[in-house]
Amino acid sequence: MGPELMSRFREQASRFGAEFITEKVTKVDFSARPFRVWIRDTEYKAQSIIVSTGAQSLMLGLPRETELIGHGVSTCATCDGFFFRGHEIAVVGGGDSAIEEASFLTKFASKVNLIVRRDVFRASKIMQERAMSNPKINVIWNSQVTELHGTETLSGVTLSNSVTGETTQLPVTGLFIAIGHRPNTDLFTGILDMEDTGYLVTVPGSSRTNIEGVFACGDVQDHTYRQAITAAGSGCMAAIDCERWLEAE
């Protein structure tokens, strides 16, 4: 699994002398070398930088959504599925990852409602078949979650059907959101080249960005594959690109 791979890579890097600072960078200045990076008031300088800020789950943007995270609303089926043993729950999304989460959750839940915005899946054919053939998965087409209910913990959601205009109540205790990801690139707006969707642009076949000495790897520059193994591979590319660049300088 991805997380285990990550923790092993971390151990290995640490054995070879990497120092970890687990913080959110608040500002960068890539206009001159050494490049500068800030964590609030603390400044760090570097001759070269590899950006691997990843992507985060998109949320529905509903009132109370954030406060219900950990109380029924989740973005991580593998983390939280366990707590919904025997419950009726719902997954929002129509892509591969939504179906993957829904299938995984049938191990615990009594019933998994899969809420799809349109009348078709965005997912690959094989995943669609997996969803349709699983007796515990109930697909609800043309629907969007418009309200979350429950005081302390989630007790249900309101669904709105985009074709009939009808609203219905779905009494679920868990809502897993799998509607896609957004790259964490706000920090680099106007500094590094990015696509309209915010993903960083790298020179094809390399990890080079538009700024010499700044490299990018992983999900922050990849909206196609987004697998642990492709991210790890691109991380290796960035490390090699960076090392060669530093040696040549």
């Binding site: 950990g70 983390c79 868990g174």
Partner: protein
């Protein structure tokens, strides 16, 4: 797991939490939870750096689901801070160390 971290079980939970003279932060976790592994080294650091003010404890939800259920834990990692036996603060998800320390600031008098 670090030497400074207390491992809780169903049978030791109540006594440990109720009799603790210091506030005690309980990390509800499981082996299969990626974000739990991300936050584990941060909790170890806090245990050794702020041990004077706070006790860090871990409870495996796979093994002791009864305790997790009692506190309605529905997502992990969930960290609940117990002060004088009562839940005083609750945090969900892996967060950077600075954020965790900010959340815990009022319980860390020596670090001010």
């Amino acid at each position: 797991m670090g030497a400074n971290i207390v491992t809780l079980t169903s049978s030791t939970f109540d006594e440990t939490v109720n009799s603790s003279t210091k506030p005690i932060l309980v990390d509800f976790w499981a082996e299969w939870c990626g974000p739990c592994k991300m936050i584990a080294p941060i909790l170890e650091q806090i245990a050794s750096e702020n041990g004077e003010d706070i006790t860090i404890a871990k409870l495996n939800v796979d093994d002791y689901g009864d305790i997790a259920g009692r506190f309605s834990v529905m997502s992990i990692p969930t960290m609940i801070l117990f002060d004088k036996g009562e839940p005083a603060k609750r945090m969900v998800g892996a967060v950077p160390k600075s954020r965790l320390l900010e959340e815990l600031a009022e319980f860390l008098p020596s670090s001010r």
